[in-house]
């Protein structure tokens, strides 16, 4: 301490010029001021204040003095101060040991000190004054002045420096004082010493040399800054000259001085006339370019008579329009002539108030990109893929996207066989791999060379970064679709969680919630005002925006008022059809049942359940079609190559389905491969009655609940049926086709209800009955038998023309004629039905009886002729004897009719030709006679003949008594009884007699039956002749008969 004091005093002593002394004083003063304060001597501080006050007055006086006289006085004063401070220092020095005295002294010192400090602070001002005034002053104290000036120049800044420094010192001193006085800590003293020493050194530096250096530095700085400014200006000037434009200045002028807020630029009718002109959509930009070019060219060529076109512009939002700023309408026509794709006749003046909107630098539907928002990639192999924004570059032009990678791990690389080097093939959009999270093991196995592992989660593969399996890649924003991104559920699922399991419902709800956050009011909605002055009134929405809705209140008769969304509620009435536009039930629709307190209860069209939903989540709708665009209720969809299902509830992205196993499941849209077009499907199934079921047919269950419905779709084991009477699963159920019965075909609306009785078709059964009645009408189910048949028209108009039945509707058949390309509609009963290859025509009823089969074209002539023969043969005989007609009629016609029974059966299609004659073999079996067997080998007719012979001999005919049972064969029994005894012989005798008519006569005589004919001779003759004729006519048949050895039964015949 003593050292420091000494040095201080030394300094003071060594002060050369007064000014420094002054500053020294100041230093000391400030140094010691706090010293005094530290002991917290209230008096002292009070004194200090007072001292300061007095100082002020003093200073004022002084400055006055200085101002009045000259600068000499002040330095003198300073000298005094210096002396004073020197005295103080001395006192301090001498009394260093006595603390109390010291304190008192210090307080006194302080007075002076503060005074000094204030003095000094005023000195500056004084000096300035001095300078100003003193310059023109006498040169008496010029030397002094100079010195002072020099000093004064520096006094200001230096004082500041000092003060700062001293303040620093003060604090230290304060501490050190305490230390010194109370603790005498060596270390602290050392520290303090260090500080003070430094301070001393600097004070030592406060001599002329360093001072000058400081000044130089400052000057240098000033010069430098001046130079740099000059440089910049010069540079700017140079640049301006170089580029020939005063761009930056101009910009600044525009941007700073001329900065006008845009609201002052709002257009008026005078300032802005902008016309909207129609043009070809998609060509707007080209037209703008073209027109600008045209304008420039015109300007060049037209000289002073320039067209007054100010600007031409286009907005992406308004397609098919360009806008031209031109004061006169006529100019536009002149201007746009000869430019293609623009239609200047269709133009209109844009209202002035719409102009700012038109030129807003922001598209209304623009989405601000934020980290975490969803975008879609517009090109490359990730085209159409959903991505999440991870980072946005500083200039807003690039974004780092998190995307599910599509990697093939080099599977499709071309390998050069010679060098065995791989050539990476760039994947194309057409053959891109499916999106899958990055699989490091795959990459390691397939393409190790390109894989770098950063850490457990982070890999670099082929210069792309993969974190947690996602690709992080930078894309330019113009390659991204940012608007109206609606991520599908499964896309979100890929981003959602690493494990892949996630709650679909949660996701769908979040999507829906996001959608619900949007405006749900539409123009025309009826709304009620919930709050504010207009509370309770009702009106119509006339305009909507983000959250302000303009509502027209009819009772107020003023223009629409604007309300915030939160104070509006939609109004619905019972009976309205509504669609849910927000909330968990979004997409549902139904009929409003009741409205209460803003809660609307409606019955859902889909679930038929009552739902109560807040009115603002509803929207009036016309139809009940659920929201999904692609799949609708009751659509048949393909889930995989093997599995199909029926949609029983269609949501936006989530569907409830009934699969072919009968299970109900909720799936996402992505799990549906495609919709199956059931209209085109030609699938058929067979019901339990064997009739065909097609899609659209109505069927009824034969077991269980006997549900009835329409066939939606047919699979081998299952058919999907929808019933309007069932609410469960939207009326869809699955049954086995064998458990249903078709009751109505889509193709044959008129077909009655009922099924085919196959027993009537069975000749085996039919044979046991009398010949089937023609009148027997059968109604058939399913396709009409006539469909697709070749027919010949029997009715007038197109009589005789051939055609194909294309459609049958009730009684009417539509026929496509062979002869000319024409469809005609005729009664289906007025047609003859033919086999494709021709053959015999049959009527519709026959066709029905033959189950739609037309007679075979290849029918043997003998067969055809036989019945004819028999019939014709039979008739005269029957006609021959009215008396015996019964028997003859009974027999021959019986026979005939038997044959006839056969023949019509054939004709009527019952037995269907050959196969029906298969029944004939059973016929033979039925006879039980071996002769019949022989008959078979001989052919129908001949067989009949031999059987004839055998008849007598065999008891089989006895068996034929069975025939007797039948009424129609009643005649036969008589014949049998009569004929068997006598007939044998008679017949036997017939042979010879047959040669001559007498024989017949004999026999006739024998047999009453035969003889029953009154005009026997004539009859016989007639009969003979006829017979003979017949024989002749039937030569082959009869001839055959005669030749037959098997006829042996009637060897007599043979002899004939």
């Amino acid at each position: 301490m003593s050292e420091t004091k000494e040095s201080t005093s030394d300094t003071t002593g060594s002060v050369e010029n007064r000014a420094t002394a002054v500053s020294n004083d100041a230093e000391i003063a400030t140094n010691e001021g706090p010293n005094l304060e530290t002991p917290n001597d209230a008096n002292a501080s009070g004194e200090g204040e007072r001292a300061a006050e007095t100082n002020n007055s003093e200073v004022e006086n002084k400055s006055d003095e200085i101002g009045a006289a000259n600068g000499v006085k002040r330095p003198r004063e300073a000298e005094q101060n210096g002396d004073k401070s020197g005295a103080i220092n001395n006192i301090e020095k001498s009394d260093a040991s006595e603390k109390k005295a010291d304190n008192e002294e210090q307080s006194r010192e302080d007075d002076g000190g503060i005074k000094d400090a204030d003095e000094i602070s005023n000195v500056d001002e004084d000096e300035k004054a001095t300078k100003e005034e003193g310059e023109g002053d006498d040169d008496e104290d010029e030397d002094d002045d100079d010195e002072e000036d020099e000093d004064d120049d520096e006094a200001g800044p230096r004082k500041k420096q000092r003060q700062e420094r001293n303040r620093f010192l003060d604090i230290e001193a304060e501490v050190s004082d305490d230390d010194e006085e109370e603790e005498d800590d060596e270390e602290s003293e050392l520290v303090r010493e260090g500080f003070i020493t430094r301070g001393d050194e600097e004070e030592d530096d406060d001599t002329a040399g360093p001072e000058r250096g400081d000044r130089l530095h400052r000057q240098l700085d000033q010069n430098l800054s001046k130079n740099s400014e000059e440089d910049a200006q010069k540079l700017a000037k140079e640049l301006r000259e170089r580029y020939g434009r005063s761009s930056s200045k101009q910009y600044r002028a525009a941007a700073q001085d001329g900065y006008v807020p845009q609201r002052f630029l709002l257009p008026s009718v005078d300032t802005a006339t902008i016309w909207g002109v129609r043009c070809r959509p998609g060509r707007e930009k080209d037209i703008v370019r073209k027109l600008l070019k045209k304008k420039f060219n015109l300007d060049k060529s037209m000289g002073n008579k320039k067209l007054k076109i100010m600007s031409i512009f286009q907005r992406d939002n308004y397609s098919g329009r360009i806008y031209i700023e031109a004061p006169k309408q006529s100019v536009i026509e002149k201007f746009t002539t000869g430019v293609s794709d623009i239609y200047p006749s269709q133009k209109l003046l844009i209202p002035v108030q719409e102009l700012p909107l038109l030129l807003k630098p922001d598209k209304s539907d623009d989405v601000r990109l934020e980290e975490g928002s969803y975008v879609r990639v517009k090109r490359g192999i990730y085209k159409g893929d959903l991505a999440v924004i991870d980072q946005i570059s500083e200039n807003n032009l690039e974004v780092l996207l998190k995307i599910v990678p599509r990697l093939d791990y080099g599977k499709n690389d071309e390998v050069d066989a010679d060098t065995n080097t791989r050539k990476q093939k760039r994947p194309t959009f057409a053959q891109r791999p499916p999106p899958q999270l990055f699989n490091p093991t795959m990459a390691l196995r397939m393409d190790q060379a390109n894989l770098y592992k950063r850490d457990d989660r982070h890999f670099t593969y082929r210069n792309d970064d993969y974190v947690d399996g996602y690709l992080f890649k930078s894309f330019r924003i113009q390659y991204l679709e940012t608007k109206n991104i609606q991520p599908s559920v499964e896309e979100l699922a890929r981003f959602g969680s690493k494990e892949g399991d996630l709650d679909l419902t949660t996701i769908s709800q979040t999507i829906r919630k996001a959608q619900a956050a949007r405006v749900t009011f539409q123009v025309g909605d009826r709304v009620e005002i919930l709050s504010g002055e207009q509370k309770g009134s009702k009106g119509f929405v006339t305009r909507t925006s983000a959250d302000i809705i303009a509502v027209n209140l009819p009772q107020l008769r003023i223009k629409a008022l604007e309300f915030p969304i939160s104070s509006l509620r939609k109004i619905f009435e019972a009976g309205d059809h509504v669609t849910v536009v927000g909330g968990d039930h979004q997409g549902d629709a139904g009929l409003v049942l009741a409205v209460k307190n803003g809660q609307v209860t409606f019955v859902s069209d889909q679930t038929r359940a009552n739902l109560t939903i807040s009115a603002n989540n509803l929207s009036k709708s016309m139809d009940s079609t659920p929201t999904s665009s692609e799949y609708a209720l009751h659509d048949i969809v393909e889930l995989s190559a093997k599995n199909v299902a029926c949609v029983i509830q269609a949501g936006h992205d989530i569907f409830k389905i009934l699969d072919d196993g009968g299970k109900v499941a909720t799936i996402t849209k992505g799990s549906i491969l495609q919709k199956i077009n059931t209209q085109r499907s030609r699938l058929t199934a067979v019901d339990n009655k064997g009739s065909e079921i097609k899609i659209g047919d109505t069927v009824v269950e034969k077991v269980g609940a006997r549900r009835e419905g329409q066939v939606l779709y047919i699979q081998t084991q299952q058919i999907f049926i929808v019933s309007k009477k069932i609410t469960e699963n939207a009326g869809v159920f699955l049954v086995n086709p064998m458990n249903v019965e078709a009751i109505a075909s889509k193709d044959n609306v008129i077909a009655g209800v009922g099924s085919i009785d196959l027993s009537k078709m069975n000749p085996d059964i039919a044979s046991k009955m009398r010949p089937p009645q023609q009148s027997l009408q059968q109604t058939r189910v399913g396709r009409d038998v006539a469909l697709g048949k070749t027919v010949r028209v029997r009715s007038a108009g197109y009589k005789g023309q051939l055609g194909i039945v294309k459609d049958v509707n009730g009684e009417k058949a539509t026929i496509e004629l062979h002869s000319k390309s024409k469809h005609i509609t005729v009664d289906k009963r007025k047609l003859m039905y033919y086999n494709k290859e021709g053959g015999e025509g049959i009527t519709y009823d026959d066709l029905v009886n033959r189950r739609g089969r037309t007679p075979n074209a290849r029918i043997g002539p003998s067969y055809v002729s036989a019945p004819r023969n028999m019939t014709t043969g039979g008739m005269p005989i029957g006609a021959g004897g009215p008396g015996s007609a019964a028997l003859a009629g009974g027999m021959t016609p019986g026979w005939n009719s038997f044959e006839g029974g056969k023949t019509p059966a054939v004709n009527s299609g019952g037995s269907g030709g050959a196969s029906a004659w298969g029944g004939a073999s059973t016929w033979g079996g039925q006879g039980g006679s071996s002769t019949w067997g022989g008959q078979g080998s001989q052919g129908g007719q001949g067989g009949g003949a031999s059987a004839w012979g055998g008849n007598g001999a065999t008891s089989t005919w006895g068996g034929a008594s069975a025939w007797g049972n039948k009424s129609s064969w009643g005649g036969a029994s008589t014949w049998a009884s009569g004929g068997e005894n006598g007939a044998q012989s008679t017949w036997g005798g017939d042979k010879s007699s047959y040669g001559g008519g007498s024989v017949w006569g004999n026999r006739d005589g024998g047999t009453s039956t035969w003889g029953g004919g009154t005009s026997r001779e004539a009859n016989r003759d007639g009969g003979n002749s006829t017979w003979g004729n017949e024989a002749n006519g039937n030569k082959s048949a009869w001839g055959d008969q005669g030749n037959r050895s098997s006829y042996g039964g009637g060897s007599t015949w043979g002899s004939r």
């Binding site: 640049l239 434009r245 807020p261 630029l265 257009p267 304008k295 420039f296 100010m310 992406d316």
Partner: protein
């Protein structure tokens, strides 16, 4: 046309080649003052094409503040943000990407 860019400062639309060769006809001085390349101050993503024939007289020019510039093609909306070096020089700079609404 995909090689076209718009100046983020004045909105002028030129091809990339034109920008690289001559810089922005309106603002090149500022870019050089700020010491940034022209490419940093232009954006390939812009919308609303304006054929400006008479910038001094056009209201459109005033509205989209291109009235002190040369006639030519301008964009109404230019995506992207100017480098800080440039925007620091221009205290009243109003971005053209629609972020700032009056």
């Amino acid at each position: 046309m995909s090689s076209e860019r718009a100046c983020m400062l004045c909105g002028v639309v030129l091809t990339t080649a034109e920008f690289t060769k001559d810089g922005c006809p309106n603002c090149q001085g500022i870019f050089e003052e700020a010491g940034v390349s022209t490419m940093e101050c232009t954006s390939p993503s812009f919308e609303g094409l304006v054929g400006m024939c008479k910038p001094s007289k056009s209201w459109v020019a005033k509205w989209i503040s291109v009235d002190p510039y040369i006639p030519g093609l301008y964009a109404i909306k230019v995506d992207g943000r100017l480098p800080v070096e440039v925007s620091d020089l221009l205290p009243h700079y109003k971005p053209r990407d629609g972020t700032q609404v009056d």
